[in-house]
C-alpha cells in the first residue's frame, strides 16, 4: 500500500481491505490440514423471566474457546442503563461491544429526552444494528428491564429478529433451561419463586450442556431497584462433588492415598554415603 497514493479522505468503521488476503490464507492453511484459531464464544445458558414486580435475568459463567474453557468466571449480564440489563450469548467480543455501544447510545438518548430509557428503545436500537450487519455480528441477547410501562423481556437473535415474551432462553443450553421453564412457569410469580425458577433453569443448562458451567449469576430488576447477584450460586466448586436435591451434604472428592503400613516391609538396609571435603574457598562480598 505504500506505493499507492491516497486520493480520498479515509472513512471510519469496518474496513474490508484484508478480506481477500484472509480468504487466501485460510485456503492455504486448510490445504495443509491445520485450523485457523476460532473466535471465543460464550457457549452459554442465559434466560429471563417476568414476575409480578419485574424481571429476573440469569446466566452461567463459562466462556469456551473451541473445546477449552477460556474463562471460568466471566460476566454475561451486561449493563445497558440503570433500569435495563442484557444477557449475551454467542461470540463474546460481539456481545460485549454491542451492549456497550447500545448502552452509550441509550445514555445519549436519555440525556436528550431527559427521561428514563425504555426497554423498547433498546430493543429497536439493537435489532436495527444487528440487521444492518446481516448476522455477521454473532450476538444473541436476552434484554430485560423495567420502565414506565412495566417490566419487559425481549430475546434478540443475531440476524435481527426479536420476540417479546414472558420467559425466554438463549445459548447452547437453551433447550435444557426452556424445559425447566415450560414445566414450572406461572404468571405473576413472587420474587423468591422467580429467582428459584431461574436458578434451576440455569443449573439445568450447566449440568446438561458442555458449553455452560461454573457459577450462576442472577440479576433482579424491579421498579427503582436492581440486585446484581454475582455469584448467586456456585454450582460447580472445584474439589467438591456436585449437590443434588436428594443428598443432604456435598461430600469431598475421595482420598485415594494408602495408609502407612498397607504394604508389609520384608527387609531394610541403610547405606551411609561418606562425603569428602575436597576444596574450600571463601569469596568475600563487596559490600562497599
Amino acid at each position: 500500500m505504500a506505493t499507492l497514493s491516497v486520493c480520498q479522505p479515509q472513512l471510519g468503521g469496518f474496513s474490508f481491505e484484508n478480506c481477500k488476503r484472509n480468504a487466501v490464507l485460510e485456503a492455504e492453511v486448510t490445504k495443509l490440514g491445520c485450523n485457523i484459531p476460532s473466535a471465543r464464544k460464550t457457549g452459554t445458558t442465559i434466560c429471563g423471566v417476568v414476575f409480578k414486580d419485574g424481571i429476573v435475568l440469569g446466566a452461567d459463567t463459562r466462556a469456551t474457546e473451541g473445546m477449552i474453557v477460556a474463562d471460568k468466571n466471566c460476566s454475561k449480564i451486561h449493563y445497558i442503563s440503570p433500569n435495563i440489563y442484557c444477557c449475551g450469548a454467542g461470540t463474546a467480543a460481539d456481545t460485549e461491544m454491542t451492549t456497550q455501544i447500545i448502552s452509550s447510545n441509550l445514555e445519549l438518548h436519555s440525556l436528550s429526552t431527559s427521561r428514563l430509557p425504555r426497554v423498547a428503545t433498546a430493543n429497536r436500537m439493537l435489532k436495527q444494528m444487528l440487521f444492518r450487519y446481516q448476522g455477521h455480528i454473532g450476538a444473541a441477547l436476552v434484554l430485560g428491564g423495567v420502565d414506565c410501562n412495566g417490566p419487559h423481556l425481549y430475546s434478540i437473535y443475531p440476524h435481527g429478529s426479536t420476540d417479546k415474551l414472558p420467559y425466554v432462553t438463549m445459548g447452547s443450553g437453551s433447550l435444557a433451561a426452556m424445559a425447566v421453564f415450560e414445566d414450572r412457569y406461572k404468571q405473576d410469580m413472587e420474587e423468591e419463586d422467580a429467582k428459584r425458577l431461574v436458578r434451576d433453569a440455569i443449573a439445568a443448562g450447566i449440568f446438561n450442556d458442555l458449553g455452560s458451567g461454573s457459577n450462576i449469576d442472577l440479576c433482579v430488576i424491579t421498579k427503582g431497584r436492581v440486585d446484581y447477584l454475582r455469584p448467586h450460586d456456585m454450582a460447580n466448586k472445584k474439589g467438591v462433588r456436585c449437590v443434588y436435591e436428594h443428598e443432604a451434604l456435598p461430600h469431598q472428592t475421595g482420598n485415594y492415598k494408602y495408609k502407612q503400613g498397607t504394604t508389609g516391609v520384608l527387609t531394610k538396609s541403610v547405606i551411609k554415603l561418606d562425603l569428602e571435603v575436597v576444596e574450600e574457598t571463601v569469596q568475600t562480598m563487596d559490600t562497599s
Partner: protein, 142 residues
C-alpha cells in the same frame, strides 16, 4: 450456532459492478493511484457486507428523503438537502481533519455512537494523504 466469526470467503456472492477502479486519463486504469488490478478482484466483493456498508449512509438518506417527500411534500427534502450542502462546505482542506460539526448536528450523528466512531478513526489512520494529490482529486483536476 451460526458464527461467521473468522470465515471470510463469501459463498453466495453475486458479481456486481459497483467495485470499479478509478479511471485515469484516456480511459485506462489508474495504476499509480489504485494499484494493480485483475478482473476477478473487481467483480466479486471481498466480503458480503462490503457493498452494503459502502452505500449504507446514502441508502438511508435516500429512504428518509423519499419518506419525507411523501409525507410533507417536495419542499421538505429540498430545504434539508440545501442545508446539508451548505453545512458540508464548512470544512478544512481534504488532507486535514475537519470536525464536520454542523453536518453532524444536522444529521443527528452528534447523539449517537456507532462503529464509525470507534473503529478506524480517520484522525488516527497510519496513512496520511499527500496534500497536492488530494487537492487535485477534490478539484477534479486529477
Amino acid at each position: 450456532m451460526n458464527t461467521r466469526g473468522l470465515r471470510s470467503q463469501p459463498k453466495d456472492s453475486v458479481p456486481v459492478t459497483g467495485m470499479g477502479q478509478q479511471v485515469g486519463a484516456y480511459g485506462v486504469q489508474d495504476t499509480l493511484r489504485s494499484g494493480f488490478s485483475s478482473v476477478k478482484n473487481e467483480l466479486l466483493p471481498s466480503h458480503a457486507l462490503e457493498l452494503s456498508e459502502k452505500n449504507f449512509q446514502l441508502n438511508q438518506d435516500k429512504m428518509n428523503f423519499s419518506n419525507l417527500r411523501n409525507i410533507q411534500g417536495l419542499h421538505a427534502p429540498l430545504k434539508l438537502q440545501m442545508e446539508y450542502r451548505a453545512a458540508r462546505q464548512i470544512q478544512r482542506l481534504p488532507f486535514l481533519q475537519s470536525s464536520h460539526l454542523a453536518l453532524d448536528t444536522l444529521k443527528g450523528n452528534d447523539e449517537s455512537i456507532s462503529f464509525e466512531d470507534i473503529l478506524n478513526d480517520p484522525s488516527q489512520s497510519e496513512m496520511v494523504g499527500e496534500p497536492h494529490i488530494m487537492m487535485e482529486y477534490k478539484l477534479g483536476l486529477m
